[in-house]
């Protein structure tokens, strides 16, 4: 072992530059593995800590105040309920928050504003405040607003509602895991002082809602509890079907909290896997190079009695040392950066990351990288068996294929250095294949970053399509005058859509599933719909199911399912399947006429109005408000932008990180390759100099030999992205019923990414080739 360690250490000293590059790659891989593992492993613990910290309700019903008494009575009567609490809140769909130093930032919001002096023993206020010194204009906002939207403690903000403006000071932020993010549920909880609460309640545009929160026995199935309760509520309170309400159980809402962190970590984990492939390709290149360069030494060692296995083990030891040091450094950085990482995850989940560094994830990240590297090197090192002593002592087994002289110089139209560069590229095909693969993986990672950015980071349209959240520029809630007023008669309106939704049970044979059902007056007008198979419902007896429900019910197109509200059920024929990630994919869609078979008096809760090009929400607001005097008119674009802003920001950062990481890795790898090529060709370069080549010509030759490698690798990377990214996304989200992903590509940007990689490669080759200047032909010849 000691002798093998000696050989390994001696080789490491000789190959310091390469070792550092591979170490950095391994470190970066380990860091990403650590980040994704520690997040994925601890997410549930963090959720549980949050739940305990706030004594979170197991079940919460948010509904109009006028229905609260009856609902509370039903909930309290449930034998599984061990505690129940009720609070009234001020609610409007039309709040606009202005914040920032000069109120330059704005946020459309639909919060429930509670009085801080009320009692909250279930789903407690977790903010840091003193009830006795709470400022008259103080407000407690949600944790998500602090972590994802840039609100700050002590900041003065303005709460606008139509013509009224309330100036308030942010006291702190409270976290309620049940309503953690707007992507989860659009019911954020704010808390204000008594005086401010009373003032708000005098505003005629504000209505009262009520939150009824219950703790239920530990061993009770939360989902089943909600399903049974909803059946009773629908029966006892028929008006509920016609109202806007939220029925929330912790198990389902937990999926909502986890969704974006999980998606982000899957992306990071995918990048780490791509990096592992890149590291393998780099190690492959290095070992090939090392064996070629070290052939005589290998011969001497074999002649002295070293076996192929011992040489292989020393090589493995050499790379294992690099892998262990690199991965330890990477995970140490992850350990040190747990706070910013925690903040990033909090921005996605809306709950505080209450975990410190995670040793288990660290051990796992180090172990995976070290084991992968060791196994790969052991496999590659088997080549020692094919090296025979005499061949090695002669300088190496000839693996060159001399049957073809690529690009004969007498027939080449290229300049001499360019011709030599291309010849060098063609000759080194074996080694170039590994470099091309490295570049292809990197280009794939960078293009995927661009893909993610343009689809999920710029406008959030794809996130909305993924979520299935429908929206138009103008969004009316409350009295939408359904059947009374044709929205098309309003000047500037181009299209409209009425909708509502509710929680029901779907049955097919012996299978049943609770799901959230959307009902639309005309599903063909949907814009955020991702139909995977079949068609949209066209009449009152047709239904479209999301992927998860399809799996749970085990149905296909043409099958019959039963929609049950506890009191009554109706049959529907499945005509299509779509994909949605909200409600964890447990969604279904029918027509408004369809739901009226079950609930004859149901009315649309929202009207989505599309407007002419050139018109804006602001320009249309007055005319729409006039048409719907009892409705709440909101800016749909802003609501959607605010809903997805946290996610788009994180996606932007992920994309940026992918791009920077790609270019840095390209730089390091090509620098390593460039340097090792110069060492390899040092003598030949000296001869070229003696023959009269200038340094510039030799640098040009090297640059030319690198360009085809990067270009082919880059083109392959674009191809991988073009062909592979959508199926990869489908695979990543298949667990929540994704059956198809067809997000658009931005080919121009992919090409730009590769062009920048080529520029990066040229710069790094020139930098690495600067050593050519120092090559003295005399020394090369006299050596």
């Amino acid at each position: 072992m000691k002798k093998l360690l000696m050989i390994a250490m001696s080789n490491l000293k000789k190959k310091r530059g390469e070792a550092v590059t591979i170490g950095i790659l391994i470190g970066f891989t380990a860091l990403l593995l650590y980040v994704s593992f520690s997040t994925l492993f601890n997410l549930e613990k963090v959720e549980e800590l949050s739940r305990q910290n706030s004594n979170l309700a197991d079940y919460e019903l948010i509904l109009p105040l006028e229905l609260a008494d009856e609902a509370e009575a039903i909930i309290v009567a449930e034998q599984d309920v061990i505690a129940c609490e009720r609070n009234t809140a001020a609610h409007s769909d039309g709040f606009k928050l202005l914040y920032g130093e000069n109120y330059e930032k704005s946020l459309e919001a639909t919060p429930d504003i509670y009085c801080i002096e009320d009692t909250f023993t279930i789903s407690k206020i977790t903010a840091d405040y003193d009830i006795n010194t709470f400022p008259e204009n103080g407000i407690i906002l949600t944790k998500y607003m602090e972590k994802a939207q840039g609100f700050k403690k002590g900041q003065t903000i303005k709460l606008e509602l139509k013509d009224n403006t309330y100036e308030m000071v942010v006291v702190d932020f409270s976290e309620d895991a049940m309503t953690a993010t707007p992507l989860n549920v659009s019911a954020a909880k704010y808390y204000v002082g008594k005086k401010m609460y009373d003032e708000l309640m005098t505003n005629s545009d504000i209505r009262s809602t009520c939150s009824i929160r219950a703790k239920i026995a530990e061993d009770v199935d939360r989902i089943a509890f909600e399903k049974n309760l909803m059946q009773k509520l629908y029966i006892e309170i028929p008006e509920l079907g016609n109202s806007v309400f939220f029925s929330l159980n912790w198990v389902d809402m937990l999926h909502g909290v986890e969704m974006m962190p999980r998606i982000s970590m899957v992306i990071i984990l995918s990048f780490a896997i791509v990096l592992i492939f890149i590291t393998i390709a780099v190690i492959w290149y290095n070992i090939k190079n090392f064996m070629d360069e070290n052939m005589t030494n290998t011969g001497i060692l074999k002649a002295s009695g070293y076996t192929s296995l011992e040489l292989n083990l020393s090589l493995t030891l050499q790379f294992a040392i690099v892998a262990i040091i690199g991965s330890l450094c990477g995970t140490c950085i992850g350990f040190a950066g747990f706070k910013p990482l925690g903040n990033a995850i909090a921005a996605l989940s809306g709950i505080e990351w209450r975990m410190g560094p995670d040793p288990v994830s660290a051990v796992l990240a180090v172990a995976i990288t070290a084991v992968v590297v060791t196994v790969i090197v052991l496999l590659l090192g088997r080549k020692y068996k094919k090296i025979f002593v005499l061949d090695a002592l002669r300088g190496g087994i000839s693996t060159h294929n001399f049957k073809r002289n690529h690009l004969p110089l007498n027939k080449s139209k290229l300049t001499l250095p360019a011709g030599l560069g291309i010849k060098s590229f063609l000759f080194d095909k074996g080694k170039n294949v590994s470099v091309v693969l490295v570049i292809a993986f990197l280009a794939f990672a960078a293009c995927s970053g661009v893909f993610i950015y343009f689809n999920f980071g710029v406008s959030g349209d794809s996130i909305l399509r993924m979520s299935g959240i429908e929206m138009r520029t103008v969004y009316v809630t409350g009295d939408t005058k359904y059947g009374e007023l044709d929205p098309m008669t309003i000047e500037g309106v181009t299209d409209y859509l009425y909708g509502n939704n509710g929680d029901y049970t779907l049955r097919a044979g012996e299978n049943e599933s609770s799901c959230n059902v959307d009902y639309w007056d005309d599903p063909s007008k949907l814009t955020a719909e991702e139909l995977v198979e079949g068609r949209l419902p066209e009449n009152e007896k047709e239904i479209v199911l999301a992927g998860s429900i399809r799996k749970e019910l085990g149905v296909d197109i043409g099958d019959i399912v039963y929609l049950d509200n506890g009191e009554k059920y109706c049959e529907f024929m499945v005509v299509g399947f779509d994909q949605k990630i909200n409600h964890f994919g447990r969604k279904a869609m029918i027509t408004m006429d369809g739901i009226r078979r079950l609930l004859p008096n149901v009315e649309p809760a929202a009207l989505y109005i599309g407007i002419e090009e050139g018109q804006t929400y602001e320009s249309m607001r007055a005319v729409v408000e006039k048409a719907y005097p009892n409705g709440s008119v909101n800016n749909g674009d802003s609501i959607m932008a605010d809903t997805v802003s946290g996610v788009t920001n994180v996606m932007y950062l992920i994309c940026l990180a992918f791009l920077i990481a790609t270019y840095v890795v390209v730089f390091f790898i090509l620098y390593m390759i460039g340097k090792s090529r110069i060492v390899e060709e040092k003598k030949q370069l000296g001869v070229y100099k003696a023959l009269g080549f200038t340094t510039g010509q030799l640098v040009y030759k090297n640059v030319v030999s690198v360009i085809p490698v990067v270009t082919i690798g880059g083109a392959l990377g674009i191809l991988f992205t073009y062909v592979g990214i959508n199926p990869l996304i489908t695979l990543m989200f298949s667990a929540i019923g994704f059956g198809r992903s067809h997000y658009p590509h931005s080919l121009v940007w992919y090409v730009l990414v590769v062009v920048l990689m080529i520029v990066d490669a040229i710069i790094v080759t020139i930098v690495a080739s600067s050593k050519i200047r120092k090559i003295e032909p005399v020394k090369m010849i006299q050596e």
Partner: protein, 251 residues
């Protein structure tokens, strides 16, 4: 005959920390057109250092090197590279052929630096290959498919492809067997007869016999010169003259 290369008070010192090694000391030498100058001397006398200083591959520490009246010692590296490609040809002890290129490409890699006409260069390369006793078909082969002697002859063709004013040869037969040595020396002699100026470093008396002028180098200075005149095969008087000269020099 006109002087094409002249070294005046040439000094070359190598430093290693505080230790200095004076390899060439105020050395003077003149090379005339058509000369076949052989530089001899014992190991470490500075023969190769002188050859590389004269050819612009290395810079002297002090002194002047004039090529056709122009001082070249202060040229930039790139200017020296251009000087070498236009005026000098090289044959080294090792052939330094690129294993990854065909024989023809190995020759053209030097030729195309000066002449862009690949067709004319190819014709010239094939002519030279024939002149050094190699078959035209060899041009498509790779160096590893040739013997050491054949490779050295290819290296000579590479050195001659640009019709250099001076061919510098640094122990060109040092790595060859006696038969190949004879072949290479015959070729050099033949090219010299056709007017090619040659400067050759050797410590082999058989090789030295081919030179028209012998300069003996000892301890960084030329301690003696011997003019042998044109080489004739079997010229015993010439052999004796050289032997006597070398004995006098302490060979």
């Amino acid at each position: 005959m006109s002087t094409i290369l002249q070294a005046k008070d040439l000094c070359k010192t190598f430093s290693n920390g505080s230790v200095q090694q004076h390899v060439l000391k105020n050395l003077n030498i003149e090379i005339e057109q058509g000369d076949f100058v052989v530089i001899m001397g014992s190991s470490g006398s500075g023969k190769s250092t002188l050859l590389y200083a004269l050819s612009g591959m290395d810079r002297p520490t002090l002194g002047e090197i004039n090529f056709k009246g122009e001082a070249i010692q202060n040229y930039s590296n790139d200017k020296l590279a251009v000087f070498r490609r236009k005026n000098c040809g090289f044959v080294f002890q090792q052939n330094y052929l690129n294993d990854t290129m065909s024989i023809l490409d190995n020759i053209l890699v030097s030729g195309l630096l000066v002449n862009k006409d690949a067709k004319a260069l190819t014709d010239e390369a094939l002519r030279l290959l024939k002149a050094v006793g190699l078959d035209e078909n060899i041009s498509k082969k790779f160096p590893t498919q040739l013997s050491g002697g054949e490779c050295q002859r290819v290296a000579m063709v590479r050195g001659l492809i640009n019709k250099p004013l001076i061919l510098f040869a640094d122990e060109p037969t040092g790595a060859l067997n006696s038969k190949n040595t004879e072949n290479v020396l015959n070729i050099l002699t033949e090219f010299n007869r056709q007017g090619q100026t040659i400067v050759m470093v050797t410590h082999d008396m058989k090789s030295a016999r081919r030179g028209s002028k012998i300069a003996y180098l000892a301890d960084g200075v030329i301690t003696g010169n011997c003019n042998l005149g044109e080489y004739k095969s079997g010229d015993k008087e010439r052999h004796e003259k050289l032997r006597t000269f070398l004995q006098e020099m302490g060979w």
